[in-house]
Symmetry: C2
Subunit: 340 residues, 2 copies
C-alpha cells in the first residue's frame, strides 16, 4: 500500500502553477542558477515555504549521480562526539551538503553504521573516533571516501584530521613538572589507535622533561569504571605517584571517584589530569584539569575534505591528514606535589 | 565529475556472475522471497558479503515507493536522548527498517532537522523531546507521519509515547513525605510542554499528600546553569524548603553545585531529587535520587507506531498515545528532614 501521506507532498509544478510561471523558472531558483530576477527568486522561495515544499534530496542525488549527503558515524554517550556534531552542522550550513547521521551504540557496531551510510548513497563518510582497524576501514574506502576524525591513518586513500596529542601531553607534563611532580602515572586506553597515539605522546613528553624514568602505566579504558579500575590497580602497587594523567575525562572522573572512596584527596595527595575538556570536566563539582580539543576546527576540516573527495579531488601525496592545535585548561584537580 | 569511488560499487549482476546464476535468483534472496534453496541463499549472502555488496536503500525506496527509513531527530548533549537512540537501534534490529538521524544542536533548529528527514524520503519521523508547538508539528504531519517521544499531543494525526510523569512525581513526593519533608520546592522548566506536564504532576502529587500548601516553584530550565539560577532564587527568598525537586538531572546537578557553593549540605540540610536517572545522576560522586524512565520501552513503542503508520495504518480514535511506567531510584541526595 502506498503511504497516503506521500500523495500530499507539494511539487515544483505546484509552485509554478501558483505563480503562473514555468517549472523551469522554479527549477533555476532552486539550483541557484542565473536567469531569474531577484523578485522572482524571492516569490518562488516564499511560495515554496508557504506550500511546504521540501526538496527531495534522495531523488535529486539519484538523478544527478552527484550525492549531496555527507554521512557521519558517531558514538552515543560521548560528549566529545556531541561537540563534534555541533561543529559538523555549523560547517555544512549554509551550503549544498546535508548530513546523514548513523550512530554506533551498545547494540550497533561501527561496521553496521558505516554500511548504512553507503547504502543510503552518501557521497562521503566522516567517521568520528573509529575503533575498527585501518585494514577494515580500507575495505569501505573503495566504496565511499572516508574521512576519519580523532585518529591518523597511514593509508593514502583515507583522509584524517586529529588533535595534536603531542602538544597536549607536552603541556600536561610541563604543567605537572612545574608543580614539582616527578612520579606520574598514566591510565591508558588500548581500545583503539588513538589510545596508543596518546600514550606514546605522554611517554615522549615525560622523557623530554627528565621524568621518563618514573613513569608508570596502568591499563584503564574509556569509561568511568575503567578509570576506577586503573587507579585501584595503581593504589594496589607499591610505586608512588603524585599525579595521574588519564586517557580521557570519563576515565579521569572514574579515577577521581575511586580516589575519593579511598580517602585520597585531590589535589593535596594526588593531582589528576584528563583529556577532552568535556562538559563534565568543567562542572564546578568535578573541575578536572584537561586538554581542550578544538572540535569546531576538527569538524570544519573534516567537511572540507569530504566535500573535496566528493568532487573527485585527491590530496597531494603525503597530504591526506591534518593536525589541529590543543590547549591545556588548568582547574583545581592539579596542584603542588607534596614535598617528600 | 562523477565520483570515481562509485564506479567500483558491486551490483547484483556481479554476484550473479560470480555464482553463475541469474540476477533474478539473487534478487529473490535479497527480497526474502521463496524460490531459492537454503544452500543458494547462503551462497548469495556469502558472495554479497565477500564482494562488499551493499543494498542501495535510497534507490530501492524510490523504486518501490515504500520507504524503509525511519527518521529520528534528537538533541546533542542530552544523555536521555542517547539512551533513547540506543533503544531505537535495538528496536529496529533485526528488521526491515533503517534509522536516519538528524540532530538538533546549538547551530541547528528542530524545524531544520525535521525538514531534512522529509527531504530524505523517510517514511516516518520519530521526534525525541520536541520543543516546537503542536501547531508547528501538525504542519509536518501532513507530509510525514510523526511520532513524538517524551511529550503528549492532542492532535489525532500525531502519535506519541511518554513516561508516566504523574506516577514518577507521586513516587518522589511519597518518598520525601515519608522522610518527613513538608516544604518542597520545585525547579521548573517552561521551555516546552513536557515541562508543564511535569510541574502539573508535581503539584498534584503534593496536593494529594497534604503538602500542597507549602509548595514553592522557582523558574529554572533544562541545563546545569538553569538549575543553579533556580536554587539561588530559592535561597534568596525567605520561604524555607527542606527538599528540592528538579525538572531533570542536569538541572538537579546545577542545583547541587549551587548548594555546595553556599555551604548547604545534601542531604543533611536539604534533600535533592532529579528526573531521568541519567548516567550523571548515578555517578558515585554525584549520586542524585531520580526518576527512571524506561527508554527501551519508549523506543520500542515509537518504532512500532512508526512502522504501522508507514503501512498506512491509523490508530483507533483516541488511541494515538501511550504512557510508559517509571520508577524512583533512591540515592544519597535525599534523606530525613531536619526536625524544626
Amino acid at each position: 500500500m502506498r503511504n497516503p501521506h506521500y500523495s500530499r507532498r507539494p511539487t515544483m509544478r505546484d509552485i509554478a502553477d501558483e505563480l503562473g510561471v514555468t517549472q523551469a523558472t522554479v527549477s533555476l531558483v532552486f539550483r541557484n542558477k542565473p536567469g531569474t530576477s531577484d523578485e522572482m527568486r524571492r516569490k518562488v522561495l516564499e511560495t515554496a515555504d508557504r506550500l511546504g515544499y521540501v526538496r527531495d534530496e534522495s531523488a535529486r542525488a539519484l538523478r544527478s549521480q552527484r550525492p549531496t549527503a555527507i554521512g557521519v558515524t558517531f558514538r552515543t554517550h560521548q560528549p566529545f562526539h556531541d561537540e563534534l556534531l555541533d561543529g559538523l552542522y555549523r560547517a555544512v550550513s549554509p551550503g549544498p551538503h546535508k548530513l546523514v547521521l548513523s550512530a554506533v551504540s551498545d547494540s550497533r557496531q561501527e561496521k553496521d553504521a558505516i554500511e548504512e551510510l553507503i547504502s543510503h548513497r552518501c557521497g562521503a563518510a566522516v567517521i568520528l573516533g573509529p575503533r575498527i582497524t585501518d585494514e577494515q576501514l580500507s575495505v569501505y574506502s573503495g566504496r565511499i571516501p572516508l574521512i576519519i576524525v580523532a585518529r591518523r591513518s597511514d593509508r593514502p586513500e583515507i583522509d584524517w584530521v586529529t588533535s595534536d596529542d603531542q602538544q597536549g601531553m607536552d603541556a600536561v607534563v610541563d604543567h605537572l613538572v612545574s608543580l614539582g611532580h616527578r612520579d606520574i602515572a598514566y591510565l591508558s586506553s588500548s581500545i583503539d589507535a588513538s589510545g596508543s597515539a596518546r600514550i606514546d605522546a605522554f611517554i615522549q613528553a615525560c622523557e623530554g622533561r627528565g621524568v621518563g624514568e618514573h613513569v608508570q602505566v596502568h591499563t584503564a579504558g574509556i569509561t568511568e569504571n575503567d578509570g576506577a579500575r586503573g587507579v585501584e590497580q595503581m593504589l594496589a602497587g607499591n610505586r608512588r605517584a603524585t599525579a595521574v594523567v588519564a586517557f580521557n575525562d570519563r576515565c579521569a572522573l572514574g579515577a577521581m571517584e575511586a580516589l575519593h572512596r579511598r580517602g585520597v584527596r585531590i589535589p593535596q595527595d594526588i593531582s589528576l589530569v584528563g583529556f577532552d575538556d568535556s562538559t563534565i570536566a568543567s562542572r564546578p563539582t568535578i573541575d578536572i584539569t584537561s586538554v581542550h580539543q578544538d572540535t569546531g576546527e576538527l569538524a570544519r576540516i573534516a567537511i572540507e575534505r569530504a566535500a573535496a573527495r566528493m568532487m573527485g579531488e585527491e590530496p597531494a601525496a603525503g597530504d591526506h591528514g591534518q593536525i589541529v592545535a590543543t590547549r591545556l585548561v588548568v582547574r583545581s584537580s592539579s596542584g603542588s606535589a607534596l614535598s617528600s
